[in-house]
Symmetry: C2
Subunit: 488 residues, 2 copies
């Protein structure tokens, strides 16, 4: 414990950067670096160790993303207060011993400052480039303020940047004319519901995944697209045979082919084509809710339905809620070549106007144009991959509680044998200061569907996440162990 | 013409500021000051004339608001390009001689650069304090970006500033807890429609003014509040007796008591009380769309319904669309003390989240907190009062085309004998590059209701407005003169 904190071994097989991260992490975990301690400047540490300064910057960034360091502009970087949870990261620590018989106080469980929210849908903003963010808004605030609404489909500049972004990030060849700016996915779904209603000349029928995104379903129902019909989901995603069998034929189906929400399946290309074939034959629209495909951890992302669509039936719905933050309320719809749908959407927007402030559209266009969004996705993706590994390490191999849904995105599913048991785990965790969602919340048929927990792992820094995951594992194992013995 | 441009006469009855404005305006109109000419700095002109610098600043500001001067930050103030329309402002000029027999080219008619939009709903942003605007956004961009949505009813800070604003501007005593932040009036109406639907447990019935705000009516219909029932409007506003007679009793009525949209009536206090009495007796809500009460030109504004409401039935809907710009997409709902409505609104917002970007809420809170909004309203009010005088001067006294609706707000109504004639005037004006709305667009009963034009006068600078109004008068008089002779 008395040797130097950092020893760089150039003969070691692991890269310099990894050695730096590992050395600093160990120093923090074994207490040689204390919360609040400033770390050396990147310049001086680089000189001392004889490594490139960029390696030190990258190491500090990674540790900040993991929650070990606190970076503040204009102040020295310091060790973050991990306190009670430092030990959570010690390698090889077994979790069995921590299963609480009675619930510990929330603050102790969740990492020392209040509850920890592991419900899905919360990305991390720790990597956000503050300088680029501020500069985008500064620029936007310099645009002359018109005394009129933004154009119905959004500011031209933003529509054009979104089209570029989708070409690069998703391989979707669309033009700015195809893009409609929205205040996030709820707004997109509401807009489509209104348009479908106008086109149907009555109450349209929209098929939805079961289990699936509950708030999209309720938005549809609220907006007069009264009939939502549940379609079962298997390990790959929506069951197209079941969709085909629905009578009357739905006006549209809403799907999450990249990463089924919440179960995590990825729709194979053949099934995607079958889905589009059904849409073409039946005159229905396929609405792809592409909510997190930027974060694919295993395998490459499959093409968006819009890029396979030849008949003008695929509508792409996306947002910057996971990519940046849902605080922005900014998303988009990419319309297919379908004059009826375009006219119906235009009629709604002429009346209700684009709900996104013009200035926010200008700022978002700058964030895309300067590459800040692309860089942020790359940085966040590394953090999320790391947290996903941590989740796999902490929650794998629980008997009776299989882990799934982790090939992409920012959440995982822990299967459980019953809804009642899942509800007990959720309640127990809430009492211990860890919020998770029951899988039953996603059911489109009351009382039916798989049981388990849905956990978002993107937002908390590693150290707090690890502590919380151990609490989750303990709660799951505790409740599983209390089940009546099986006699067979 | 060769004397000094500005002579300040301290014995003159008119105030110094008015003499300054008058002198400069005359100089521009008679061509001694040419488009593009820089005017002296406020400091040097003040010294030269021996007046306070603030008087010169105020005079320049007024002339900029009227469209005679162009103010740009960091550049000298210059004479604006009025060109073809300078003469429009010459006092006492009669309009008869300019009535075009055939439509002149749009550019000539509308002021030298493209069409002029006199459809209502477009405020002027010429007075916007750019420094305060930029500073508000700079501040907002410094707020730490959360990885989560804003709270369902909006950011606390903004709700609190809106409550303060309403206390001062409208005498509405509400708490921040009563305020729900919205993306403008359409979003507010959609939110209320969803809540009413949930409360009614079916299709609610909402009474609307006829004629009235067409897009609010369509938003209601689109959001499943399927049944909108028209209620006639008289010179004062909604006809409460007609409302009382509707069976089944509506779940809500939507009204514009400050300045009936579009006819311009102001609901007397006694009628306001009768309306609230009806609401209390029938368990209905009264939704007050308070879209422009900040700009009252004649008489004092009457109290908002919310401030008269004792039974928890009055809902106040407002926005910063007229006060600042609809480009902002920012508004609010003030909820009455009614647990059922609050719960229903909360349920919708929990699901769909607050559609206003958190950063826009922060910026708006700053604009309110620093007094920038209050100052902007005061400055804009002076401009609008001036433009209203101009409109009265240009459009009063047309036989068969009475002018009305001008006691408050930013638009006027020109009555016309028939829809067909109004349609011809609208088309003729469009061909001449001046856009106005036919009154028939506001009808809630197809083919019924008064005929005429609705003109927004807030947005164009005075010189362009005067030119356009003369084109309007000529078109109206031309079409009126083409009517078949009356034989009686």
């Amino acid at each position: 414990m008395d040797g130097p904190l950092l020893v760089i071994d150039r003969d070691d097989a692991s890269p310099l950067g990894a050695q730096l991260v590992e050395g600093l992490r160990r120093g923090i975990l074994d207490g040689r670096l204390q919360a609040g301690d400033p770390v050396p400047s990147t310049r001086s540490l680089a000189t001392e160790l004889g490594v490139a300064r960029s390696s030190v910057v990258a190491a500090y960034e990674q540790l900040a993303g993991e929650g070990y360091l606190e970076v503040r502009q204009g102040a020295p970087t310091r060790v973050a207060p991990l306190a009670a949870h430092a030990s959570a990261m010690a390698p090889g620590r077994s979790v069995e011993s921590v299963a609480p018989e009675s619930a510990p106080a929330p603050s102790a469980a969740a990492g020392g400052d209040g509850e920890l929210d592991l419900r899905p849908g919360r990305p991390s903003t720790a990597r956000l480039d503050e300088r680029a963010w501020r500069s985008a808004w500064r620029h936007a605030a310099r645009v002359a303020v018109p005394g009129d609404t933004a154009p119905p489909f959004g500011e031209r500049r933003l529509r054009s940047e979104i089209a570029d972004h989708l070409r690069h990030a998703r391989g979707v060849a669309c033009s700015p004319d195809d893009v409609v700016v929205t205040a996030g996915t709820s707004d997109a779904v509401a807009l489509l519901a209104s348009a479908l209603r106008a086109m149907a000349g009555g109450t349209p029928v929209v098929a939805v995944e079961h289990p699936g995104y509950p708030s999209a379903r309720r938005v549809l129902e609220r907006r007069g697209a009264l009939l939502t019909v549940p379609v079962p989901v298997d390990a790959d995603g929506i069951d197209v045979a079941a969709l085909r069998a629905i009578r009357p034929t739905p006006d549209a189906v809403m799907v999450t082919p990249s990463h089924q929400y919440p179960l995590g399946g990825r729709l194979p290309v053949a099934t995607r084509l079958a889905l589009l074939e059904w849409a073409e034959a039946s005159g229905a629209f396929v609405i792809e809710d592409d909510y997190d495909s930027e974060f694919r951890h295993v395998g490459t992302p499959l093409p968006a339905l819009a890029s396979l669509d030849r008949a003008g039936r695929a509508v792409l719905v996306g947002s910057f809620s996971k990519v940046l933050t849902p605080w922005l309320r900014l998303g988009y719809v990419v319309l297919p070549a379908n004059a009826g749908l375009r006219d119906a959407i235009a009629a709604v927007r002429e009346d209700e106007t684009c709900p996104v402030p013009g200035i926010a559209q200008e700022a978002m266009a700058s964030l895309l144009a300067t590459g800040a969004v692309r860089r942020h996705i790359a940085a966040a993706r590394r953090d999320y991959a790391h947290r996903r590994e941590l989740l796999l390490a902490e929650l794998s191999g629980m008997d009776g509680a299989p882990l799934s849904g982790l090939d992409g995105g920012l959440h995982a599913v822990v299967g459980l044998p019953s809804r009642a048991l899942a509800a007990r785990v959720v309640a127990r965790l809430a009492a211990e200061g860890v919020l998770v969602s029951p899988l039953s919340d996603y059911s489109a048929i009351a009382g039916e569907g798989p049981s388990g927990l849905v956990l978002g792992y993107a937002s908390p820094p590693d150290a707090r996440l690890a502590g919380a995951l151990r609490v989750v594992r303990a709660a799951v194992e505790h409740e599983l162990s209390r089940r009546p013995h099986r006699w067979v």
